[in-house]
């Protein structure tokens, strides 16, 4: 098994290590839940031992005493500064789930060998346009609506969790509803909406590599802003690059690393580094590396 896959599995199992939750249909209630994990992992998943950073952010913004969460924002800044979107590629349990869904045999444009966006101009246009949707979701549903929906009670709605998040539906909703009959009787239009979005996401992930990361994930949108300045960088040695295009061809996030190795869309899977025939691409935590710094700054 590849090193990245091992890390992904360890991160996913580590974030969801409370096994009794699955059999009892309950959740972990210990003090670790005050800490946020870097990836998207619903805190109401029966196995979750820590909090989801997006959920924590919305919970505090929506609380009557506060209008912004310095705690969650500070953690997100620190995670982004150290890792950037390495979190998406290595540490996010929902990212792993999407990659597993991608393994389901299904007709894919280009037989799934390459990113559809590279082979089909129509899809490329769609991808270029809709990649900005995740930034809108971040600003509107995660930051604005929890504050703006505060009514007389002073409590706002965690709008992204409530109306959109497929991770919550799949990681928390499905196992908890399966184990709790009384809970199933309370289902209504909201669950229908969330289940439809989750189903749409699952189908999207089967057809397209990391559909949710590409178009819908506000957390990935935030971490993407740090790719150029994070301690983890992909460095392109322009003197070694022979412009063969293999890195762009293998990239399933539709990034061209020979043009922009630290693009906000890159989830740091490292496929481009492995496939480069001249070792022009390298990756790692090399903050003091002058070439890496120059490369990052020139893209700011």
């Amino acid at each position: 098994m590849a090193r990245r896959k091992i890390i992904q599995w360890l991160a996913a199992l580590g974030c969801n290590a409370y096994v009794p939750g699955f059999s009892r249909g309950g959740i972990y209630k210990g003090g670790l839940k005050a800490i946020c994990v870097p990836g998207l992992n619903c805190y109401s998943c029966p196995g979750a031992v820590a909090s989801c950073p997006l959920g924590a952010l919305q919970a505090v913004i929506g609380a009557s005493r506060y209008s912004f969460s310095y705690y969650a924002a500070g953690l997100l800044l620190a995670f982004g500064l150290i890792f950037g979107r390495v979190i998406c590629g290595f540490l996010c349990p929902f990212g792993l789930l999407q990659e597993l869904l991608r393994k389901i045999p299904f007709f894919r444009p280009g037989n799934g060998a390459l990113a559809p966006s590279r082979r089909f101009a129509g899809f490329a246009k769609f991808a270029r346009l809709f990649k900005y949707l995740k930034y809108i979701l971040l600003v509107v549903f995660v930051l604005a609506l929890p504050f703006l929906t505060k009514g007389d009670t002073g409590v706002g709605q965690p709008a992204f969790c409530k109306y959109i998040c497929p991770a919550g539906t799949l990681e928390a909703g499905v196992p908890l509803l399966a184990a709790n009959a009384p809970m199933r009787e309370t289902l209504g239009w909201l669950f229908t909406l969330k289940a439809s979005i989750a189903l749409f996401t699952v189908i999207g992930c089967v057809i397209t590599y990391r559909f949710f990361c590409k178009f819908l994930c506000p957390l990935g949108a935030f971490y993407g802003l740090f790719n150029r300045i994070a301690l983890y960088q992909i460095h392109l040695d322009k003197d070694r690059c022979v412009r063969c295009g293999r890195c762009a061809q293998i990239c399933q996030m539709a990034v061209d690393p020979s043009l922009d190795p630290n693009c906000a869309e890159c989830v740091r899977c490292g496929d481009c580094v492995k496939t480069c025939p001249t070792s022009a691409l390298s990756a790692g935590f090399r903050g003091k590396d002058a070439g890496c710094a120059k490369n990052a700054i020139s893209q700011l």
């Binding site: 959740i27 005050a34 979750a48 800044l77 500064l81 965690p158 919550g168 669950f191 002058a290 990052a296």
Partner: protein, 52 residues
């Protein structure tokens, strides 16, 4: 020379964000946000699972 300048600039940006993130985390702790997160996370989030 130029590389040294750009590296210094990148380090300055990183240091600024690092300091801001620490200040934010401490401010959140001081304001009691951690307790709010803990309370929310230790109850089943009905919004998350699509009930209410």
């Amino acid at each position: 020379m130029r590389t040294a300048v750009t590296a210094r600039r990148l380090r300055a940006i990183r240091l600024f964000i690092f300091v801001i993130s620490i200040i934010f985390i401490l401010a959140g702790w001081y304001r009691g946000e951690i307790r709010t997160v803990l309370i929310k996370a230790t109850l089943i989030c009905l919004e998350c699972i699509g009930i209410g």
